[in-house]
Symmetry: D2
Subunit: 348 residues, 4 copies
């Protein structure tokens, strides 16, 4: 059961709710979002019907919703309308417009970022991606430029009217990364790093939660629940390929996860066809498929010179390939009643 | 290496080719297709360059192609242009038109077939699907109507201007099933039933080869090679979902298998979103995604009354759902330069 | 529900049972085994309690057992004691003794078989394995010697006091293979080749049913049910590795499948560490682990010269490696209350 | 290539090594272990032979080892003898003795810990396990007692002569947990939490690294490399089951991972049959199998009253079941040349 408080409900009203919960030997999980406070109630009450009515009668309570799933606040039952995660004016996830994040795997240099940002903006992307802190299988692989990389990202994005999405790896870096980015990405390897989920749940920057490499959809939504209950209600889910026995692709892009997840949660769901396949030539067909299948956005690796990329070269599109892909996506988006973002307006 | 003989090359010319192969301690695999004969050469020749020239100089030889893959005749190297599998006038796989097979999982009765066939034809499908011999996990489940079911299929298809695709399970039934069907389906469980592959390779009816439930793409193409080398060159590949750790769907539809396979073979590749997901509500988004991602066709389970279906009810579309889906597919097909079949003309 | 008839129950008694079943709108599946006839009853009766009593009261009925699983005749509920599959005097599966099948992947020549058979017999194996009909991923790979290979197997086994296990691929070959072998092997690729399962179910030679490469344990037992209900009650199950995302081994040997299956069925369960790992050095530790974990037998690939083997060389033990392994297995078997076979006595 | 410095090599000698590395445009990774310093050299040198000789000639260098694997310091090439991780006198991993960790999933109370510790010590375990910080799929599930739980663990272990292993989830808790535990466990979900790996690499407490739920063995060893290169050379690997398509068990215990990993690394490898199967009845057969297959230890969930456990009840052994299991393990260990620990001597 969840209890949705009215916007601007008084603290005393909230206290009355949690006091009643405690008196019933149930547990409250208070999620203070930017817009409203929601109380998750955990435990097995004796008489559910009576209970719902009892809470609905309290002051400041907007609605009381019984939830059948193990994930509660992110479930569709908790919120029938779809959540639109608004990044900045003209940039959002979950509406008619398909958000497009593009950029290199790793931030490598100021020039690389600037070249990429202006090209992807011109082609119609509205968010710049790039890693300043890189999770690498090997301790000997390039680990990212750190704060310097964050500055390059921010600058290149601002000059080209783009928002920024970048990954945070360490709970101790959430504050630092939040200063530079518009969206905090939690990578696949950290999907069940619960301390990081809670820390990002405490940030006031929207989160992009990638699906773990062998996570079930239920586990993915439970991870989102960790962020949500900690107070961050602006969460975008990202399918990025799962592990398969077939080595024909780097990962196995699970496109059916898009409609499955959309049926279970009110949060937007996007697709990463770059990690999802690991092969440049598959990025275009899988991007088109994702959009036709209902994805709320795409996140695509683009590099001015993939052969020289510090990481993920084989799956990165060149700048012209990305522009060509955007031109092919437009009619498919239209065919399913969606559209690409309006061209970004660079800061004068 | 494969040697493509000219159409109508003489037997003596073919003999000269195989004699030369034998003299080099290599092995010939002669594939006598309806249109032309192809000789696969297996073994490790010493001097490849000289050898290619030597064979190219023989009478009756059209071309000699070195092949780097373990599958040879079905590889793109063997045939740069895409194969169009022609079923009957106006019905083909692999061209601009997206073939659409629709119908029930199991053939249950003459009425069921007739109702379904006329509805799917009206909605724009051009091939009727339905199982008369059913592979069932349990020996106690409905095993199909057998030859009676084949007759119902044939009659319903003919009355509605449709072709027929149906599964053959037993090597001893290939001849029987071929009398009634336009396409012999080999199911996922039989993808590596090599004696059945060879028997279907000897039939003059095109084959639809489903991917095994845990087959790699390479193994799938090797299975197609079994059919091809046995003389049946009219093969359609069908992705139908693979095994995954996540039970959110019945199988995991691997849409990236479409462009991956199309990059490796000249054969057409279609998608089965019904088995691929096992859930009715996912059939539409995955059909749209498949078409946008480049699939050459779809095979969809449709039933007049899914709740009463003998098998696969939960994944079957109702007749109106199918008609609505076809209407949604049309603009997506157009957006990627394809189109749906022309409406079938029922036999007067 | 299953109804176990008394040994030598009269046909009229059986008729009375099936007539009652039919009158209740339920379906009979009669399994006529060598020792007794069992009737599987499928359908959903209204009042189970009354029904059980009703059948138990009929003449010739030994017992009536309600079954909660989808597999019925092979379930532990159907038969509380463990089945011992007796191959010939001194050779059985499922008792205290651990059966050991050893031999080459493919039968290659009379000499190869003779050398291997005498060595594995001397080392303590009691069954000779070897493939005369080979299921190969590629149509260009060695497909086996056919009937000639069967003769070599039989002869080598007889001369060394061993039984024979060999694979049958084609329903049309079941009779032929049965003439030469003591155990009909159904390979992993054919685990759901239902026509083959039924045909082997009609043979009077015990069956060895390998688990499919991505089969669940339930599906495996349902496949055994196909054989059992067709009348062959002498079935040995064999775990041989399943598909995994990790390419460190050829397959992933699922040793927990042994106790899981033994908890669900009364049939014996053995392990194939050769296919289960695909790597020679892993065969010994996995054989020891299998025995300690409760396996009723082992099937191991052994070749006089693995480097020259026509197939599966990398996973084959040499003759001395096999002898050394048997010496290491003996104390582990003893530690868990089992023992290796008595040394085979070669036919004089 | 790795360069092993002599014990007590001077800083100036180390400087000479790293200066030479830098002058060759290669990168040094200095791992300062408790016993010796090792320098990993990353990059592609032109003339490997000359280079090896050049480094071998420097003062303070004990040996120079070329490494063919992507993991270097943990590879068997780096250290031919097996590492024995010594926890305290009489408790170690990797020698003849099989280490046995036992205890509850979650620390729940002082009484629970005391009861369990004395029972498992009496049965022959030498390390007490228990979680004070719990990684839980749901934010609403019990998250552990925190520092209080650590105290209970330490006290109960000390009173019973046991060492302690417990999980650390958060980089900020490494110091705190290290105060109470003898072994820092990194759980499966955090196997690629690289910031945590580095932090534990900086601790002077040995590490137990669980394999990720879908990690390849290579990725697992790369994760160990992160810890090793950061200076912690006392690492124990733990196989705990991976994801499978079959829901018959909670995870799929990959016992072949034991000999595979032992062939690739010098670090000890233990097995967790409790998480590896998720089912109480499978813990015994899989423990026996693990020991027979060469595992260097076991970690087993034991609870005085599994039905009331806060977590993992279904896979926990009761105290008598654990004692019975230890009695069954002893002869299997002996059969493969290993033995169980000497009985722990409780602190007077």
């Amino acid at each position: 059961m969840i209890i949705v408080m009215r916007p601007h409900a008084a603290e005393a009203e909230l206290d009355a709710v949690t006091t009643l919960i405690a008196s019933l030997a149930l547990t409250s999980h208070i999620s203070r979002g930017a817009e409203r406070t929601i109380v998750g109630v955990v435990g097995a009450p004796a008489d559910k019907e009576t209970l719902l009515a009892q809470f609905a009668g309290l002051d400041g309570v907007e609605s009381v919703v019984p939830i059948s799933k193990s994930f509660k606040l992110v479930s569709r039952e908790a919120r029938p309308e779809r959540t639109i995660v608004r990044i900045k004016p003209g940039i959002s996830f979950g509406g008619t417009e398909i958000a497009v994040c593009a950029g290199p795997c790793s931030v490598e240099s100021r020039e690389q970022l600037e070249t990429t940002a202006s090209a992807v903006a011109a082609a119609g992307a509205n968010i710049l991606r790039g890693g300043a802190f890189k999770p690498r299988t090997s301790p000997y692989a390039f680990q990212g430029l750190g704060e310097e990389g964050l500055k390059y990202l921010r600058d290149a994005a601002d000059r080209n009217g783009l928002a920024v999405v970048t990954e945070v790896l360490d709970v101790r870096d959430v504050e630092l990364v939040s200063k530079y980015t518009d969206i905090l990405q939690i990578g696949a390897r950290n999907m069940q790093n619960f301390t990081l989920l809670r820390e990002v749940g405490g940030a006031r920057v929207p989160a992009l939660l990638k699906r773990g490499i062998a996570a079930t959809i239920d586990e993915w939504l439970m991870a989102a629940e960790y962020i949500y209950v900690a107070g961050n209600h602006q969460i975008v889910l990202c399918e990025r390929g799962i592990r398969s026995y077939d080595q024909a692709t780097r990962n196995l892009l699970d496109l059916s996860a898009v409609p499955v997840a959309q049926g279970l949660t009110h949060l937007p769901v996007i697709v990463d066809p770059s990690h999802g396949t690991g092969i440049r030539n598959l990025v275009a067909p899988m991007s088109l498929a994702a959009v036709a299948g209902g994805a709320d956005g795409l996140i695509i690796e683009v590099h001015p010179n993939p052969a020289a990329a510090f990481s993920d070269g084989p799956q990165s599109l060149t700048l012209p390939m990305f522009a060509e892909l955007m031109a092919r996506i437009a009619p498919v988006a239209e065919a399913v009643g969606r559209k690409l973002p309006e061209p970004a307006t660079a800061a004068a």
